[in-house]
């Protein structure tokens, strides 16, 4: 825990500084030829989407470990991951339609990336609902939801991709011109730092909560 307590403030502080500087860094990027100003949504949309994936996979893998070993630590990380997946999912699902309205002319399209993001967001929201309303023993059940949720993502993606697709290919980001790539990576780093520090903070909160429960129970006895 002690290495954590020094790492978290440092990472969080760095993330905040990077976020504060982000508008200036994004401003150095040239305007995209067809989309102009709206394309700048990308510098927040793409890192938020990557953080969503990171959070979802963290939750899925931690759930898998919890199912196997019943380690309390894995469960705490899984809860933190699921909550962050929902939060970053909200960012992705608001910035996406705003951008789509301006460039595609529609708010929403049932395309592979959009649909699988929405389904993923629904799964991790149902994880939190189960956690909150499932009563005692819901840790194990939600671990199964987290694990299935992670395994499902490629299926939803493939099946919707087969159905129809409009969203740009994933090869767009590595092939960006340097003046656009730098702000994109800058924001990606800021988002991932924020993700990691929030994950550790939230997991620690969950650990403290279970410690508190244990102490309260011991006191009653």
């Amino acid at each position: 825990m002690s290495s954590n307590s020094r790492f978290v403030p440092a990472a969080l502080g760095l993330a905040l500084v990077m976020f504060a500087a982000a508008p200036f860094v994004i401003n150095t990027a040239p305007y995209e030829s067809t989309m102009g100003l709206v394309q700048r949504i990308f510098y927040f949309h793409f890192p938020a989407a990557m953080s969503l994936f990171a959070a979802a996979f963290t939750c899925g893998i931690a759930s898998l470990i919890y199912l196997r070993t019943r380690s309390a630590r894995a469960d705490q990380i899984a809860v933190a991951g699921a909550e962050l997946a929902v939060v970053f999912g909200i960012i992705v699902l608001t910035t996406g339609p705003l951008w789509a309205r301006k460039t595609w002319g529609i708010w929403w399209d049932w395309d592979a990336k959009l649909t699988s993001t929405l389904v993923m967001w629904l799964i991790f929201s149902s994880y939190l609902l189960l956690r909150r309303f499932g009563g005692p023993g819901s840790e194990m059940l939600s671990a199964a939801v987290g694990f299935f949720g992670m395994m499902l993502v490629p299926f939803v993606y493939v099946s919707v991709n087969f159905w129809r697709t409009l969203h740009p290919k994933t090869s767009v980001v590595p092939n960006l011109p340097a003046p656009m790539l730098v702000p994109a990576l800058w924001c990606l780093t800021a988002f991932l730092l924020l993700f990691i520090s929030l994950l550790l903070l939230r997991a620690r909160l969950e650990a403290s909560r279970s410690d508190l429960d244990r102490v309260a129970l011991a006191l009653e006895d």
Partner: protein
């Protein structure tokens, strides 16, 4: 391996016998499915004619809704008579309990589908006879996909609070691929210009989903159902 299958068969037979004696699930599920179809008829029939291509969607939504109802009830029955603990204490592999429950549920859902699919064909002009084997294969693989994930989560939720609400909340997002595959495959058959090759591809995706998720459910059932 044979002992697991034998035990699963015993559990399925037990469930089916309970059902054959009360006929509670089959009657209520069929009636519920029929009511669903009726509501769809009010929504999707204009001037006496069904909206084109609505029948595939109606078929799969009805399966999803009535399947959820049946799933909730099968395990509610075990909970009410407090037999789930006995079932889990039985000296058989956990996997056998899961397989037995799944098998009994599938028999029930197939019985419901055998009745509801012709009704939908009749009421919504769906060309059921165009590729009957392919349609059957889509229905079977889709129902197995839905049932395999559903049995796992319904079993898990037996001991949870507000399980009636949580079952569809958890189950529907996870079975999204089954419904994309089922609806798309079926509407490829029902379309004015049928695309049977397309329906076969969807069938392949459904079978692949079934294989992966039955394996995952078998693997997860043990740890999740341990107290």
């Amino acid at each position: 391996m044979t002992s697991v299958i034998a035990a699963a068969w015993q559990i399925a037979r037990k469930d089916l016998r309970v059902e054959a004696r009360s006929r509670e699930l089959i009657y209520t599920t069929i009636f519920f499915a029929f009511s669903c179809v009726l509501i769809f008829a009010f929504a999707f029939v204009r001037e006496g004619q069904p909206i084109p291509n609505a029948s595939a969607g109606i078929l799969w939504i009805t399966i999803a809704f009535s399947g959820t109802l049946a799933l909730g009830r099968t395990f509610e029955r075990e909970r009410q008579s407090e037999t789930l603990r006995a079932l889990l204490l039985a000296p058989v592999e956990r996997v056998a309990v899961y397989l037995g429950k799944l098998l009994a549920l599938l028999v029930l859902l197939f019985a419901v589908e055998a009745l509801i699919v012709p009704i939908i064909g009749l009421l919504f002009d769906a060309p059921l006879g165009r590729a009957p084997l392919l349609l059957l294969a889509l229905l079977v693989s889709g129902t197995i996909g839905f049932g395999s994930v559903g049995t796992l989560f319904a079993a898990m939720l037996v001991r949870a609070q507000s399980r009636d609400v949580l079952l569809p909340v958890i189950l529907y997002p996870i079975v999204v691929p089954v419904f994309i595959g089922g609806v798309q495959g079926t509407s490829a058959i029902f379309a004015d210009e049928p695309a049977l090759a397309m329906a076969q591809t969807w069938l392949a995706i459904l079978i692949f989903f079934d294989a992966v998720f039955v394996t995952l459910a078998l693997w997860t059932f043990g740890p999740v159902m341990t107290e």
